[in-house]
């Protein structure tokens, strides 16, 4: 169960030219490998969300560099390249009253991975399992992407 919960790093990026490049350079310097990322932006700032190899270690390294970073629990489902795959997961959540706060898809080796931030990740994991939807565990990410 716990393995199905993935730690995402969320990084605050000021909306100024060169800020993302700076954050990326720190990631590089720290040897952090990203499997997936997503950039959400507002007028004055952006939030870089990243799935990395070793979230604990990466978190510590980024913090030491003065980067504003936060750990967030997300879940990932494998979306087969067939019609209705996303519907199955979303429909199960809807019926169970689980709210998807945001999500982003990333293409993996075999299928697409859909990362989701939900209001109750533990309950979400349980529902998905009960509905026969395959969750990608944190251990599997490096093999899937």
């Amino acid at each position: 169960m716990a393995d199905s919960i993935i730690e995402q790093l969320s990084i605050f990026v000021n909306n100024e030219p060169g800020r993302l490049a700076y954050v990326a350079s720190v990631l590089k310097e720290c040897g952090i490998n990203m499997h997936a990322f997503n950039l959400a932006e507002s007028t004055d700032f952006g939030i870089l969300r990243a799935i990395v190899d070793d979230p604990e270690e990466s978190y510590r390294k980024l913090k030491d560099k003065g980067i504003i970073v936060k750990k967030t629990e997300v879940i990932a489902v494998s979306i087969e390249d067939t019609p209705g795959a996303l519907f199955a997961a979303a429909d199960a959540f809807g019926k169970a009253g689980i709210n998807i706060e945001y999500g982003y898809a990333y293409s993996g080796k075999k299928a697409s991975l859909f990362y989701m931030r939900v209001n109750d990740p533990r309950k979400a994991v349980e529902i998905l399992k009960n509905n026969g939807i395959r969750l990608v565990t944190s251990g599997e990410i490096r093999w899937e992407t």
Partner: protein, 432 residues
Amino acid sequence: MFWNSKIECMKTEDLRKLQYRELKSLVNNLYSFNRFYHDRMKDQNVHPDDITCLSDISKLPFMYKQDLRDNYPTNMFTASNSEVVRYHVSSGTTGKPTLVGYTRNDLDYWTEALARSLTSIGIGSEDTMQISYGYGLFTGGLGLHYGAEKVGATVLPSGTGGTERQIELIKDLGVTAIACTPSYLVHIGDVAKKMGVDIRRDTKLRKAVLGAEPWSDNMRKHIEESMGVRAYDIYGTSEMAGPMFTECEERNGIHMAGDIVYCEIIDPDSGETLEEGQKGELVVTMLKKEAMPMIRYRIKDITSLSNKECACGRTSPRISRISGRSDDMLIIRGINVFPSQIEYTLLRIPELAGHYMIYVTREGALDRLLIQVEIKEEAFSDKIEDMNRLRARVEAELKRYLNIAAEVELKAPGELPRFESKSKRVIDKRVI
């Protein structure tokens, strides 16, 4: 044209005598009946008997905006509640507002001052005057309203905002004069152009009484050339009563009616009275004020004083255009804002760190206030929605305390420069 030529053109020496008599009885009264000013005089070791000529006014203690705040709401009042007929309120520095009160007589000389001012620039019963100052707690709207009614003008109390509608009304009602901030008039001109309305050709608007924010002769030139509207400067603060005094047709300084106010110019650092014509801080003594004393009140506006008789025939002293402030107060869209008020508001929000920057710019005709503020690390959320909500809350709090629309940008901790003083956090890029 004069509203009250007897007073307005009174011989200078007679005016001085009148001012002395008014000052003497004011000081006697306050010493006997006003706890606040009695104590202030005692502290300074000055007694009403020490005032034996007009220049002895320099023996009297100064009053400051802080006195109004410290005595909020009515501790400084001389008049009882039954005598006070109106309040006006402006926002204060630390959440506490500044309150001013008026007796019937206070309203009467305020209106009289404006009647004289409007008459001096030829506004009278033939005019239709649009008052586009804020009505309500701000003194501008109601002040000008009563003044314009007094001279018999047809008053259109439009207040602020709804610019397109205001332009329609200027057209439809044949508005001839307007009172508003200079930047708002420029904005009206811009919007009119977009609507295909040529102020010069399609309206009867020819005179504008402009104030409540700093402006320049360049702006005057721009307004007159682009709109064909003759622009006059008006001065006054809520502590005096509200906007009161204007330039005359000569437009060579603002006539500060000598029977109502006694003006001094001082060196802001030493407090010494300066010679006529020298630039310094304006200090006003309101000679007729009843509800609350205003003696040697330090307004903090920088100007100079001339006692020479004006070509128009008026003998009242004139002050030159306000050239700045001796404190860090900002005037944004006609609203007074102290950086300390912004700081106070920001520090009340637990998600924010204490670091901020204030940028003031002018876009088109209107001022824009941008506040960058650092969030605390623990306030950072991975959800954009949470962050947007925080930003909206900061904007709402600023609106609530300062009554002004500010744009807020959230910054990561450590992103903004560190300073010792508030004034370095303010970047005013406006060209006025």
